[in-house]
């Protein structure tokens, strides 16, 4: 190993990162998203996707869902750092493999082509609750809801069938059963 000339220590061996989904309940106020996102970028955490919207207009609460990757130690830090932010009420985190939680993303596909190609597209999307939102003689906008990797797959699959534009959301999450996270 070459001699270090740095006043800082050398990075130590890394654990394997996993994918986690964070759900953060925050006061819906100016700058709150910047605080959460700034925490991630400032401390070098990763954001794979992000979804945010107000969920309680009376209490003025927004719910932010962030998909991130990190080692267990980093994930712990993310939760603890998020909890410290003043407008944050509570933080929940789930492993992507968690069977007790539903994760969903939505995608809009614009397909241009003849009727039979659009039909093929719809057929291919069958498993993911396809809804036609707009239709002309030569085009269609199809909405599906699915997991991230499923949408990735469909995105590839529909290209040869006339897919010209994709728009998709970040993941949102909800626990299964009657219980809610507290």
């Amino acid at each position: 190993m070459p001699k270090s000339k740095s006043a800082y220590s050398i990075p130590t061996k890394k654990q394997k990162p996993d994918t986690y989904i964070f759900v953060v309940w925050v006061d819906n106020e100016a700058g709150v998203l910047a605080r959460v996102v700034g925490l991630f970028s400032g401390r070098g955490y990763n954001i794979e996707s992000l979804a945010v919207a107000e969920v309680d207009a009376v209490k003025n609460i927004s719910r932010i869902t962030i998909v991130t990757t990190g080692t267990p130690q980093v994930i712990d830090q993310i939760r603890l750092q998020l909890t410290k932010l003043v407008p944050v009420h509570k933080v929940a985190e789930f492993k992507r493999e968690d069977k007790g939680v539903i994760f969903k993303e939505m995608a809009l596909f614009k397909v241009v082509g003849k009727r039979n190609k659009i039909e093929k597209c719809l057929n291919a999307c069958k498993k993911f609750n396809p809804v036609i939102l707009d239709e002309t003689k030569t085009s269609a906008v199809i909405q599906i809801t699915a997991l991230r990797r499923e949408i990735d797959k469909m995105n590839k699959k529909l290209k040869p069938l006339g897919l010209i534009s994709t728009s998709r959301t970040g993941a949102v999450a909800m626990t299964r059963g009657a219980k809610i996270f507290n």
Binding site: K3, K5, S9, I10, K13, A34, K84, V86, H89
Partner: protein, 588 residues
């Protein structure tokens, strides 16, 4: 109908209700309404600085030495950006500050107006929280919340940005809520089970060490008292971080000195070899741990901290107690005393061997240096300063660099809140304005800034503040003409390529003192040092002391980069004896 107040009046009503006595600031266009209101509030004294960074550091010195939050008032744009360094410094070292900044009127926000900047955007990563108050009706609530956030939990800086039109607008004033809404941000809910578990670990330990930090100071004088009792009850050795100095008496025999990169041989070796490590209010900073993989490899680790995000951030611990240091240690002490009634024997005999080992390390006398008759050694200067001021209740601030480490090594602090230094951020230029703030909080006390000539030039303008308010701060400059710590690293690690670390054309500090209207003293001979220091202490007014020291002196002992605690480099005496070979040679 209740009386209506302007935003500027509300700011002062809040400050009065928060019992603020001093604010450090600098006026400008966007805060003029607040400055206009100042005259109506005689209980609040404004200290006019010469640069907003100086206001920030002065407020830090004020806060650290008094335990009260420091308050800063600056204008928009450059006023706010100038204070960013001080806010970041306070954030890293957990100092409670409330910074009030002016902002352009709300209708001009976002239009690149004169002296406009995105203050809340810029300060978001360097404050605990910040607010842009766009509605006058939110102002009193936000101001009170600002003080709550700054002072509760792990303390830190906050900023309230107030547009000029809001300062003019009128509304009702709301008093602070007696009951503080903590929003789950308070963490003082440790359990007796955790305490019992710790006490069990204490009784089993054969090679224990206590490692205390700035959290003890932040928790107040009671915490230091409890820590002293705890150390006395257990008979354990104790070491301290840079920020924790003074929490435990520096001249006590159970105190091993500071640990870390420039810590003592005994403290670092004890950290490495111990079987029980009790971290009280410290954060396993990288200047403390050295190489993480080999940090204290065979110990059970306990971490007591008020900030849950400090736990397991860098070092995995076996037992974490999240709570206020003062209440946690008091609880531990009570439990120990209660248990002792059962069995009269403590485990002091268990650790007798451990103390023998520590005494052996201590025998190395790692803070040793080769003194000289011809030139003043910087360590000697700090030692003499300590000897001549130890009987007064002296407050010491520092800049950042070699002089800071020498001050930490050779000046022994016996009380908390007497030592103000920039540790986390390492801000050169911290010490002089901080000394100004300390002197404001303690007008009758002796306040010394142990400085380096490079650092002190960064905020030298605040001498003007010291002279204006007749603050008798003593600026004790260890002048070696180099950015000493930079030079030392270049000598040890960059083949003596002293790239840009020599200050040519240094000012004549005697003339500088004269120009500012304070006293200048110069010393370049060891035999003159004592009476000149005495002259400085006796002078009733600010002094710039230009102490010319050996320019080539290095700060030892030190842990070289990427090494564990037990591989320290010692000073020149020891190096002669041991004839360091090979790789080590480059480091001598």
């Amino acid at each position: 109908m209740p009386k209506l107040f302007t935003g500027a009046e509300i700011v002062f009503k809040c400050l009065e209700d928060q019992k603020v006595e001093h604010i450090f600031g600098y006026p400008g266009g966007a805060v003029l309404p607040i400055y206009d209101e100042l005259k109506n509030h005689p209980s609040i004294k404004h200290i006019l600085v010469r640069h907003e960074q100086g206001a920030g550091h002065a407020a830090e010195g004020y806060a650290r030495s008094s335990g009260k939050p420091g308050v800063i008032l600056v204008t928009s744009g450059p006023g706010a950006t100038n204070v960013v360094t001080a806010l970041t410094d306070a954030y890293m070292d957990s100092v409670p500050l409330v910074c009030i900044s002016g902002q352009v009127p709300t209708h001009l926000i976002g239009t690149d107006a004169f002296q406009e900047c995105d203050t809340t955007g810029i300060t978001r990563p360097c404050t605990k929280h910040n607010w842009l108050v766009k509605d006058i009706n939110d102002l009193s609530k936000v101001m009170h919340e600002a003080f709550t956030v700054a002072t509760t939990g792990r303390p830190g800086p906050v900023l309230v940005d107030i547009p000029k039109d809001v300062q003019f607008a009128k509304t009702k004033y709301k008093k602070p809520n007696k009951e503080k809404k903590l929003n789950g941000k308070s963490h003082n809910k440790f359990s007796q089970d955790q305490i019992d578990e710790l006490v069990k670990l204490l009784s089993k330990a054969k090679k224990p060490i206590i490692y205390s930090g700035g959290g003890v100071i932040n928790s107040g004088p009671k915490a230091s008292q409890a820590l002293r009792e705890f150390v006395d009850l257990t008979g354990f050795p104790i070491t301290s971080t840079l920020q924790g100095l003074g929490a435990y008496p520096g001249d006590d025999s159970q105190f091993l000195g500071m640990l870390g990169m420039h810590g003592t041989y005994e403290a670092n070796n004890a950290m490495h070899d111990c079987d029980l490590l009790i971290n009280i209010g410290a954060r396993f900073d990288d200047r403390i741990t050295g190489k993480i993989d080999e940090f204290s490899p065979n110990s059970k680790k306990v971490h007591i901290d008020i900030d849950p995000s400090s736990i397991n951030k860098i070092i995995k611990v076996d037992l974490a107690i999240v709570g206020d240091v003062s209440s946690v240690i008091s609880k531990i002490n009570k439990t120990i005393i209660k248990n002792k009634n059962g069995h009269s024997k403590s485990n002091k005999s268990n650790i007798a061997k451990w103390w023998e080992k520590i005494e052996k390390w201590r025998g190395k006398n790692s803070l040793n240096f080769v003194n000289s008759d011809e030139s003043i050694k910087p360590q000697y200067a700090v030692q003499r300063l300590y000897e001549l001021t130890k009987n007064k209740d002296t407050y010491v601030t520092t800049e950042v660099g070699q002089h800071q480490m020498w001050a930490a090594q050779h000046y022994k602090f016996n009380k908390p809140n007497r030592w103000m230094t920039s540790g986390g951020l390492g801000t050169m230029g911290y010490g002089l304005p901080a000394a100004v703030g300390v002197q404001i909080a303690h007008p009758e006390k002796l306040v010394i800034d142990i400085a380096g000539e490079a650092s002190v030039l960064m905020t030298m303008q605040e001498m003007s503040t010291a002279v204006q308010y007749n603050l008798p701060v003593k600026i004790f400059i260890l002048n070696n003409q180099y950015m000493g710590m930079v030079r030392q690293w270049q000598e040890l690690l960059h083949e003596k390529n002293y790239s840009e670390s020599y200050s040519e054309a240094l000012p004549n500090f005697m003339k500088m003192a004269e120009a500012y209207g304070c006293k200048g003293i110069k010393a370049d001979n060891p035999s003159d040092l004592d009476y000149k220091i005495q002259e400085m202490i006796d002078y009733d007014g600010p002094v710039i002391f230009d102490c010319h020291v050996d320019p080539n002196e290095n700060c030892f002992p030190m842990i070289p980069s990427g090494k564990p605690h037990n591989q320290m480099i010692l000073g020149p005496n020891d190096q002669e004896e041991n004839k360091i070979k090979g790789k080590g040679k480059a480091l001598v």
